[in-house]
């Protein structure tokens, strides 16, 4: 006997993500999901973003990692609330993990929540967490050809950070080609060259993020 189901496989994740999104909007917190390869500079970018925006916004961080709390400790050392999620081997974060992690935060007291996703260019793209914006970081040493190999992540990202830009002269990174491919995959996404550990280029990224946060607020109060 044939039985029709017609059910989304990610329905459960998407449903919880929608609830997260509603909860974030009600609390007036803007949520960024940062995605990148291992070591591309997610934690460094978060620290640079905190330095740039902490006077203006109340910030907290969720650190997704397969194991360990070293990244969360780096954030806490700067006096910023950081919640560690250990996925126990899972290669991406899901919306129920975010739900549990934010239970330990006072969302109403926050303006910006940054989520460091698990280092992976594949999985995180299929999973809505309830964020306002997905942002991806590519670091220069990974090469300008990554958008050919992992097009999806460049498509779902609303902005692309090109990190470790201070090393661009040491690698045969073809920035023009990179911009062209990213532009064809996702014409609306800005690309921000940045050296997170040195602070170069952080201003342009922080300005974009500020615009997005303010636009979300204007939308909510409108």
């Amino acid at each position: 006997m044939r039985v029709d189901i017609a059910k989304g496989i990610l329905e459960k994740n998407d449903g919880l993500a929608a609830e997260n999104r509603r909860m974030f909007a009600e609390s007036g917190v803007f949520v960024v999901d940062l995605m990148a390869s291992p070591g591309a500079g997610k934690t460094s970018t978060i620290l640079a973003t905190i330095a740039a925006l902490r006077d203006r916004y109340r910030i907290a961080v969720i650190e997704g990692d397969i194991a360990s709390r070293v990244d969360a400790e780096k954030i806490s050392a700067h006096g910023i609330p950081a919640v560690q999620i250990n996925t126990g081997g899972a290669c991406h974060l899901e919306s129920d993990m975010i739900r549990r992690a934010v239970a330990t935060l006072d969302l109403v007291e926050l303006d910006l929540l940054i989520i460091e996703n698990v280092g992976n260019l594949v999985c995180p793209t299929d999973f809505d967490l309830g964020e306002n914006a997905k942002v991806m970081i590519l670091s220069v040493p990974e090469g300008h050809d990554k958008p050919y190999k992992y097009p999806n992540i460049f498509q779902v990202a609303e902005a692309v950070i090109l990190n470790k830009y201070d090393t661009v002269s040491f690698f045969d990174f073809d920035e023009a080609e990179f911009r062209e491919v990213v532009g064809s995959l996702n014409p609306a996404a800005p690309i921000f060259p940045m050296a997170a550990t040195k602070g170069d280029g952080v201003d342009a990224w922080a300005a974009w993020l500020t615009d997005r946060i303010e636009a979300a607020r204007a939308g909510e109060s409108a």
């Binding site: 006997m1 044939r2 039985v3 989304g8 496989i9 299929d126 999806n152 064809s184 995959l185």
Partner: protein, 113 residues
């Protein structure tokens, strides 16, 4: 990558539906996977073999229908199918296109006894 998790979703939706019908066996499960998702058919089949062990879906067939990407141009309303890299309107060259299909991850139906 996470085909195990995806497969878990497929299986729990299917087993729930089978239980509602008091099924004793699941013969096949039909799913639709969009080309623009990160799911690989082979890895999904492997996960399916592992996860169905000791369930009423053991030895069931997983039928995967893949859907290619289809977009509509926001400028001239042309509809066109495309791969991952060429989501560009073939009529007017615009990149401002709305994706109509290609990201599906869906359980369509099951066949049960």
């Amino acid at each position: 990558m996470h085909e195990m998790g995806i497969c878990d979703g497929i299986l729990s939706a299917s087993l729930d539906a089978a239980a509602k019908e008091n099924a004793t066996r699941v013969n096949s499960i039909d799913v639709t996977i969009g080309d623009l998702t990160e799911i690989q058919g082979e890895a999904l089949q492997f996960a399916f073999g592992v996860l169905t062990k000791d369930t009423i879906a053991e030895n069931a067939v997983l039928n995967i229908t893949t859907v290619s990407a289809l977009s509509r141009c926001a400028d001239c309303a042309a509809e066109f199918s495309h791969g991952r890299f060429d989501a560009k309107c073939p009529e007017c060259g615009s990149y401002m296109c709305e994706l109509l299909q290609g990201r599906e991850l869906r359980v369509d139906a099951i066949d049960i006894d």
